[in-house]
Every structure is written in structure tokens, then in C-alpha cells.
């Protein structure tokens, strides 16, 4: 755990304020860790056809949801009590937005788990699983790096994640084309391939959320909003 001394949010005159911000950060990272594990396990459950694990993921999603509410409450209390400014304000506002992203990532994991159960019940036919693994690994590393960038306030790493997002989109398009050919080969494949397509779609969304988190990290560090701007703009902001 980061200690107060080496943290830029930990040197206020009010120690209580330090504790509150540290707690917020820690809880956010804890939620991030949970969500990461959820996605990882969901992919595993799908690939292994592990219905038991898929059930567990669906149950855990409730805990993720609860964490979102708790972190939001904590952030609201900090605003009410401390009227944070500058980097403190940017931290609190960003955390409020980023927990929403994490919660959505949790939902995507749940979606994948549901599809894993469906696919398992219909019997194994591991078509498109290579793509699932590939994109899954890619977006998981993006999510991991985004949370890392948050913990380290590393805007350069955040920028790299923004750039990655485009690659995931391309991979998703390519995978969709592959699945389409399977469907054209044999119409009996359509239902199963569509399920796999939904899985890929969910993973692609995870990449988008990781990218949102990265944008918020840049806002926290640089104080400039890089949402809805071209990557070149974000590059300039980070370079400043």
C-alpha cells in the first residue's frame, strides 16, 4: 500500500484529509483489482467451459456494484467536508467518473460469464476462442496499465493506453470478419458464433473503459480534459 509520505495526496495540513484521500485511492484500486480478476476469470470460464466459475463471477458482480456505491459515497463526503481544490478536486472528480467505468467493466465480465454458461450448455465448439483469448489478453493488459497509471500518476503510460485502444478496435473488426466466414460456411454455426461475437464486443468495451480511465488519469495529472480530442492533442497535453 502506498504510504502517506510518498504520496502527493498525503501532505495536507489536515491529517484526516490525507487519510480520506488515501482511503479513496486505495478503495478505487481495490475495486480495480476486483474488476480485473472478474474479466480474467470470465475469459477463463469461457475458454475452459467452466460453468461453476461463471456462476461465481455473476455472484461477485454484486460486490463490485456495492463498491461503486461505497466509493461514490466516500467521494461525496470528501466534497462536502473538504471542498477540495486543484489536484485534490481532480482526483475526487476523476474517481467518481472512473468507478462508473469500472462498474461497467464488471458488467461486461458478467455478460461474458453468462455467455460462457450458454455456450457450455450448448456443447463445446471452440471457434473464435483464439480471438477471444487474444483480444482478452490485450484489453486486460490495458486495464491493468490504466490502473497502474492511476496509482503512479503516470500520464505517459495513460497516453500509451489511449493509443492502444485503436489497435483493439482493429483486432475486433478482424475477429468479427473471421467469425462471419464461419457463419457463412455453415448456417448451423450462426447462433454460437453470435454468442462469441457478443463476447468479443464485451471485451472491446472493456478496452474503451480502460481508455476512459486513462483519459481521466491525464486530467488528474495535467489538469486538461482530453476526452473527445484526437490522440495528437492528448500527446501535446502530456508533453507539456
Amino acid at each position: 500500500m502506498p504510504t502517506k509520505k510518498d504520496d502527493v495526496y498525503g501532505d495536507h495540513i489536515s491529517h484526516k484529509f490525507n487519510d480520506e484521500l488515501m482511503e479513496l485511492k486505495t478503495e478505487f484500486l481495490k475495486m480495480g483489482g476486483m474488476v480485473e480478476a472478474q474479466v480474467e476469470n470470465a475469459i477463463q470460464a469461457l475458454v475452459d467451459g467452466d460453468g461453476h466459475m461463471a456462476d461465481e463471477i455473476r455472484a461477485n458482480d454484486k460486490k463490485v456494484d456495492r463498491m461503486e456505491v461505497e466509493i461514490d459515497e466516500e467521494a461525496t463526503l470528501i466534497i462536502a467536508r473538504r471542498q477540495p481544490t486543484a489536484r485534490d478536486l481532480r482526483l475526487v472528480i476523476s474517481v467518481i467518473k472512473m468507478v462508473a467505468d469500472l462498474e461497467r467493466v464488471g458488467d461486461e465480465a458478467k455478460k461474458i460469464a453468462k455467455l460462457a454458461i450458454k455456450l457450455q450448455e450448448e456443447g463445446q465448439a471452440p471457434r473464435g476462442y483464439v480471438e477471444v483469448r487474444h483480444i482478452g489478453t490485450h484489453v486486460l493488459s490495458m486495464l491493468h496499465d490504466a490502473l497502474d497509471a492511476f496509482a503512479r500518476l503516470d500520464s505517459e503510460q495513460a497516453l500509451r493506453i489511449m493509443k492502444e485502444d485503436k489497435r483493439v478496435d482493429e483486432e475486433y473488426q478482424a475477429a468479427a470478419r473471421t467469425l462471419l466466414t464461419f457463419m457463412m460456411e455453415d448456417t448451423r454455426n450462426i447462433s454460437r458464433c453470435m454468442s462469441v461475437m457478443w463476447v468479443l464486443r464485451a471485451l472491446e468495451r472493456v478496452g474503451d473503459h480502460a481508455c476512459n480511465i486513462a483519459e481521466n488519469v491525464i486530467f488528474m495529472v495535467k489538469g486538461e480534459d482530453v476526452r473527445h480530442t484526437p490522440v495528437e492533442e492528448a500527446e501535446k497535453v502530456v508533453g507539456r
Binding site: 461477485n60 477540495p84 489536484r87
Partner: protein, 295 residues
């Protein structure tokens, strides 16, 4: 939050272990270069042009080479830790420092392109143009009416009683006090509440039709409701006056001002749009101060 799945929790905490932040070493003390102000200290439509201003109390240099423009109809807030020189600087603007023998002011200070410190300048006239409201309400121990009428009387602004009545009413209205006191204008001012007294002082300041109003922590002795009323008043007055406010309440500066100037140990460290200062200040010291990292 203790009820999370133990495997996930341990994994999560493992991940967190890895995420110990790598912080850059921050310099122990930020060096301030004299006369260097980050942000936007100058404006096009300047009421005050202040350049390389130094203020000494005896041998002590309280203000160090400060340059700043204050715009017409602008509300500018001066913030900074106690003893940083913000009140001293404020008092230069209408020569309130003249009354302190050991105080010397150097540099160029211009109001509408005229030297404020011109020895031939009529200080009484200057202070009529640049009015002041202080930290503690300081009404004269006279009636409410006489407090407001005092300025117009000594400046000979009203010849007839009817004119004076009108001025008093107008000023009290502008200060948002008329409805509360119109039936007791002869009552003594010191019997009013603190918030009312402060608004009376504002009415007294605006009775002589000043162009600029200097406010030295005008709300620090007031309760939240009276504070809100004074802030409301500042917003209204900014249409017709230039307002310079020194405040210890960061939220107040954020609420009422257009630009914010941060003073530190006699230096003017940063001047920027208020919105910028409170969301992403440019200077490390400004950031430390407004986020409560030192006081």
C-alpha cells in the same frame, strides 16, 4: 467492503502491492524568482497599472517587485498565507499606507494612467475614487443615515436635503440594506447586526460614487448568511465598480472573483482566471496553498 471474495481480495491486494506509486522527488523548497509572476498578470483594459512595486516597513521589504494590472469592472481576489503582503499591497492602491510612518512605497502605481503617489495628488480625492471596506465593520457611532451621508457631506456632493436623502437611499439599496433599515434610519448604527453593519460600511463606501472598492477580508467577521449577502452584493457591484478583495476564504475567492492573484512572502507568484487557479493552478506554491498543504 470486507466481504469481498477472499481469493479476489488477495489478488486485488497483490495488485495493489505492485502499484506502490513511484513519486518524483520534489524540491524541498520552491525558489521564487523576484518579479516573476506566472499566468496572466496583465490585462488590456487596465484601471490600475502597477509595475515593479516594492513596499518597505523600515528595513523590511514586505512587497517584492510586484507587477499587476487590475481591469475595469473586474473582481480580482488576492489570496495567500498570513503575512504574505496581500493587505499591504491592497493598501497601496488608495495610499492607506501613508498613515504608517515607516512605510515606503517604490515603483510605478497608476490609476487611469495617473500616478497614485504623485506628491501633488489630493489623497482625499483619491480615497473618494478608491473606497475601502475593512475586515471588522467600523460604522461611526452615529445614526444609520449619518453614516451613509457622511461622505457626500464632506465631499460637498449634495447641496439640498432632498439630494442627500436620495443618495442615502440609493446607496443603502445598492448595499441591499434599504428594506431592512428604511424605518429606522435614525437608529444608531452600532446597534445593528454584524452583517448589517458591514453592508452599511459598503453603503458608506459607495455613497461617494467611487470607481474602485477595496475590500480587506470583508466577510471574516460575518456568519454564512451575511457572507452570502455580501457576496451577492459583490456580484451586482462588479457591473459598475472595479473590486479588489483580499480574502482568507478560498471558496469565497473562487465564488466571487474573475481573476485570482496568489501572494507568497511578498512575491506575486501567480495571477490567473479564477476558474483555472482552483482547478489547475500553474505554480506549485499556489497549488500547495489552495489545497491546504501549508498555511
Amino acid at each position: 467492503m470486507n466481504s469481498i471474495n477472499p481469493t479476489i481480495a488477495s489478488e486485488a491486494s497483490q495488485l495493489n502491492e505492485e502499484r506502490v506509486p513511484v513519486q518524483e522527488e520534489r524540491p524541498a523548497e520552491t525558489v521564487i524568482e523576484e518579479g516573476k509572476t506566472v499566468g496572466k498578470p496583465y490585462t488590456d483594459n487596465a484601471k490600475f497599472k502597477l509595475r515593479d512595486v516594492d513596499v518597505f516597513y523600515g528595513d523590511t521589504r514586505a512587497i517584492k517587485k510586484v507587477s499587476l494590472d487590475i481591469g475595469r469592472n473586474e473582481v480580482i481576489a488576492f489570496i495567500g498565507p498570513s503575512g504574505c503582503g496581500k493587505s499591504t499591497f491592497l493598501r497601496c492602491l488608495n495610499r492607506m499606507n501613508d498613515s504608517i510612518d515607516i512605510c515606503r512605497v517604490k515603483g510605478s502605481l497608476q490609476l487611469d494612467d495617473q500616478n497614485i503617489y504623485d506628491p501633488k495628488r489630493d489623497v482625499v480625492e483619491l480615497r473618494a475614487r478608491v473606497g475601502m471596506v475593512f475586515q471588522k465593520p467600523n460604522p461611526f457611532p452615529k445614526s444609520i443615515y449619518d453614516n451613509v451621508a457622511y461622505g457626500p457631506r464632506i465631499h460637498g456632493l449634495a447641496n439640498r436635503k432632498a439630494d442627500l436623502d436620495e443618495m442615502v437611499e440609493n446607496s443603502l439599496r445598492k448595499a441591499g440594506l434599504w428594506e431592512e433599515v428604511k424605518d429606522r434610519l435614525d437608529a444608531t448604527a452600532t446597534g445593528m447586526s454584524g452583517g448589517q453593519q458591514q453592508r452599511l460600511c459598503i453603503a458608506r463606501a459607495i455613497a461617494v460614487s467611487p470607481e474602485v472598492i477595496l475590500m480587506d477580508e470583508p466577510c471574516s467577521a460575518l456568519d454564512p448568511i451575511a457572507t452570502a449577502k455580501v457576496e451577492e452584493l459583490i456580484a451586482e457591484m462588479s457591473e459598475s465598480y472595479t473590486i479588489v478583495i483580499v480574502t482568507h476564504s478560498m471558496q469565497q475567492a473562487a465564488r466571487v472573483s474573475h481573476r485570482t492573484a496568489y501572494f507568497h512572502l511578498g512575491h506575486l507568484v501567480e495571477v490567473n482566471e479564477t476558474n483555472k487557479v482552483f482547478t489547475s493552478p500553474e505554480h506549485e506554491l499556489t497549488e500547495s496553498y489552495i489545497t491546504g498543504r501549508f498555511g
